[in-house]
């Protein structure tokens, strides 16, 4: 109750002219935006504001678990040609830029073409685009060089970060999306308009009353920079804002405390990411399939879950995550914990315990995220129990990332991605896959992955991805450990956040708050 009172009081005191109570939503975020132009590069502090100011052609949100990979934002509907190379999008005819101009198909064409020309991050999602045509103001026709079943879902995912649509009439005479007056004073077509950016403090947005889906329930939207996670949590508890996003990651071990509190709703959100181990096959011992299998046996997911996650994560025994639903092959399963079997396999593989009790040594590393730290700490103990001299090796995020790219690691915790389209397997496991840091290579898998992406018939695709999962579980270049689960805290009465099941396709993107309403907005 305190929260409402304070919001109402604050508005009443500060803006006496406004008789009605307004809903102000403060969204805490760890990073200050670099800029407010989304295309040139990924920007953790900028995604929140820009996702609410700009619109996308198609987008998705955490609702991937509902089984829909992409939904329309500016696009009301679309058709895909028989050969899966021509996509025809029909735009919403009511969409307007914040300056009142009409949003047209030319804006989409202009934005995508410039992104491709400049080679901005989003261009990798547009790799296969042959041409973009605009037969009329509300129709965009994108033609691909070759069929690509992942095109639409991947484009919808990438749009969250860097694939937003810019107004051609304001940007046409700029050299790129990183120069000019609209870089930090954005004009978009989304549910909120830019008001101001107080450097180091907050970005303030206001409801766009002319939004083509109707005005949002939140009147003032503020993205506040709070770098310290402890402070963010203290402020959430003090009622300063109604939503504590998962990236402030209160330790999962504390979940029972929050669950017992009637003034807090704990929201768990599944994702299409896992936590897994990448094994570097260039390592003398890890290159041996038996050793990799032994590691899978040595690992005890249940113990990790108990110690690190308060039993709230789902152990990952398949080469996929539950949110992938129909694509999972349940016959391809990683082994369960069996330390004796692990020791036997290691003996068989030619790595008996030496005089000091050790078989061989490995370094275990991972990205600088709390769950991976917990997993690797426990893993090290479990490996040592079967005679593998494992040690932790920790780095800051960018060092870790360049080391695994240079294959300077033995075992690393990793965040495998399986959605929004199973084409992700190609990225992880094909010989030249961008996320294949393991030096894994299998000719059959390469061929399957390349082909499966071009096939429209779902049953056939499913069979092919099922086979890929069998191969991966057979060879174990990686071992799945957990399905990622995000935990966020929400005050009762607030609904529609993207992380909540009810927020699906209403929030408009992962960072969107269009669907959010507070207790005062109850109708």
């Amino acid at each position: 109750m305190r929260l409402w009172t304070s919001t109402i009081l604050a508005t009443a005191v500060l803006a006496p002219a406004l008789a009605l109570a307004e809903t102000t939503l403060i969204m805490p975020q760890q990073d200050e935006p670099r800029t407010l132009t989304p295309a040139p590069s990924s920007d953790t502090g900028g995604h929140g504001p820009t996702s609410n100011i700009y619109s996308h052609l198609v987008v998705m949100d955490w609702g991937i678990v509902e089984g829909v990979a992409a939904y329309g934002d500016l696009a009301d509907s679309w058709e895909v040609s028989e050969d899966a190379t021509t996509y025809t999008f029909h735009l919403n005819t009511d969409a307007r830029w914040h300056d009142g101009e009409d949003v047209t198909s030319e804006d989409v064409k202009f934005t995508y073409e410039r992104i491709m020309e400049k080679g901005y991050t989003f261009s990798s999602f547009l790799r296969d685009v042959k041409s973009i045509e605009t037969p009329d103001d509300d129709t965009v026709v994108i033609t691909l060089n070759k069929p690509n079943m992942a095109f639409l879902p991947m484009m919808a995912q990438g749009a969250q970060w860097t694939g937003k649509i810019y107004p051609e009439h304001l940007w046409a005479d700029q050299d790129g999306f990183d120069t000019g007056p609209y870089v930090n004073e954005p004009v978009g077509s989304g549910p909120f308009k830019f008001v101001r950016w107080d450097r180091g403090t907050a970005v303030v947005l206001e409801a766009n009353e002319d939004y083509f889906r109707g005005p949002p329930a939140v009147d003032t939207l503020i993205f506040r920079t709070i770098p310290d996670a402890n402070v963010a949590r203290a402020e959430f508890e003090a009622g300063q804002f109604p939503y504590l996003p998962f990236n402030y990651a209160p330790p999962l071990a504390e979940a029972p405390i929050f669950e017992a509190d009637p003034d807090i709703n704990v929201v768990y959100t599944p994702s299409h990411f896992s936590r897994d181990l990448q094994l570097n096959l260039n390592h003398e011992a890890l290159g041996n399939p038996k050793v990799r299998e032994a590691i899978a046996y040595a690992m005890d997911r249940e113990q990790m879950n108990r110690l690190a996650f308060n039993n709230s994560w789902t152990p990952g025994y398949y080469a996929g995550v539950s949110s992938l639903q129909k694509w999972i092959n349940e016959d391809a399963r990683f082994p369960e914990h069996d330390a004796e079997k692990a020791e036997a396999l290691l003996d068989e593989a030619g790595f008996p315990r030496g005089e000091d009790g050790w078989r061989f040594s490995v370094k275990v590393t991972g990205p600088n995220i709390s769950d991976c730290s917990a997993i690797t700490e426990i893993l090290v103990r479990q490996l040592r129990d079967v005679g593998i001299e494992a040690e932790l090796d920790r780095f800051d995020q960018s060092t870790w990332f360049s080391r695994i790219q240079e294959k300077q690691f033995d075992i690393s915790c990793y965040f495998g991605r399986y959605g929004p389209d199973p084409d992700a397997y190609r990225e992880h496991f094909s010989t030249d896959g961008a996320r294949n840091f393991m030096s894994y290579s299998d000719a059959e898998l390469d061929q399957l992955a390349a082909e499966a992406n071009t096939i429209r018939d779902e049953e056939t695709r499913k069979e092919m991805y099922g086979r890929i999962q069998e191969i991966v579980v057979r060879d174990m270049p990686y071992i799945n450990v957990f399905e990622e689960q995000k935990m966020s805290l929400v005050r009762p009465g607030w609904t529609g956040f993207a992380v909540m099941p009810g927020g699906f396709n209403k929030s408009i993107s992962w960072f969107g708050v269009y669907g959010v309403s507070g207790p005062d907005d109850a109708e």
């Binding site: 800029t35 590069s41 990924s42 303030v204 709070i226 203290a234 960018s398 360049s402």
Partner: protein
């Protein structure tokens, strides 16, 4: 005339020192592992785009050329453009300085004035129960980690009692100018100033207590007392004035660190100052901003040292410039 010449030489000396600092900073930052271009382009970016990014930021050039280009720029008074925002570094830094000066300046004035006064009073009653209590307290204050103290203050005053705002410099929806704004900022300042001042305070109490009790034992103080000067006059005119020398040294050092001393406090309290800018710049490897901030900080340290020497001369006639 002599003073002017002295000043001139001292200012001249700053340039080779600054150059040295630039080179050292440059080397340190570039010795750190990790690839800035990954951070700039985003993980999993196209190798082609990554190459483009490297070229645009001059990261593809050999190190000595990057350093040369940077020094050339500096000589023209240009600190370069931030990697993160593509805005001039000088503007980014200038924007953050007032907030830091306000926070750290207030805390420093509060800590030094209060600390010196308390220390002087304690020096007159060495060994008393009050003295022991204050000494213990000041050592504890001095040794508390500032971010922990900050968090505890937030928990107590902002979360539990709800008397004061927990972080930020002003209410976002609050007044933007006038007396209302000043009051709002003042309310936001209380906790960060308190936590910063508390830590400095301990140091000044200890310093001033030691210095004053030392001078009180000097023969000229005994003489002054024997002549019959009132105790208050002995304290201010003879003891405190001479005890000021070590205090001024420390104050001068701290004045130089004014811009840097608040990194942790600013981060905990989400204070939009220079300290947090540096913290963010380091996390994102924004080399031009880090270098620019370090350079400006080293200049303030040098200026503060110069100022200290000048004040020294004024306080102590034995020091001739």
């Amino acid at each position: 005339m002599k003073l002017l010449r002295y000043l001139f030489y001292r200012l001249l000396q700053m340039f080779p020192i600054a150059l040295f600092i630039v080179v050292i900073n440059f080397a340190l930052i570039h010795m750190a592992p990790g690839d800035v271009s990954i951070l700039l382009a985003g993980e999993g970016a196209d190798p082609e785009y990554m190459e483009q990014v490297r070229e645009r930021y001059g990261l593809n050039l050999p190190l000595y050329q990057q350093l040369g280009a940077y020094i050339g720029q500096l000589l023209q008074g240009d600190l370069g453009l931030s990697f993160r925002t593509r805005e001039p570094v000088i503007g980014i830094i200038a924007e953050r300085i007032p907030a830091t000066l306000l926070l750290a300046g207030t805390a420093l004035v509060l800590a030094s004035v209060l600390g010196v006064a308390i220390g002087a009073v304690m020096a007159r009653r060495p060994g008393s129960a009050l003295d022991t209590a204050v000494t213990t307290l000041s050592i504890s204050l001095f040794s508390i980690p500032v971010f922990w103290l900050g968090l505890m203050l937030i928990l107590l005053f902002a979360v539990t009692l709800r008397w004061l705002p927990s972080s930020g410099m002003a209410s976002i929806a609050g007044p933007r100018e006038g007396i209302g704004y000043a009051l709002d900022v003042a309310r936001h300042m209380v906790l960060p100033v308190l936590s910063l001042a508390a830590i400095w305070l301990g140091q000044y109490v200890r310093l001033s207590r030691a210095a004053v009790s030392e001078t009180l034992a000097e023969p000229y103080v005994t003489t002054a007392r024997a002549i019959g000067f009132p105790e208050r006059r002995v304290m201010t005119r003879f003891a405190l004035r001479n005890a000021m020398l070590p205090i001024v040294t420390v104050l001068g050092l701290e004045l130089g660190l004014l811009l840097t001393g608040a990194v942790l406090t600013e981060t905990v309290f989400s204070w939009p100052g220079l300290g947090r800018l540096i913290y963010e710049a380091i996390l994102s490897r924004d080399t031009p901003v880090i270098m620019g901030a370090f350079l400006i900080m080293s200049f303030t340290v040098m200026l503060a040292a110069l100022l200290t020497d000048l004040v020294y001369a004024a306080l102590d006639p034995r020091v001739r410039l």
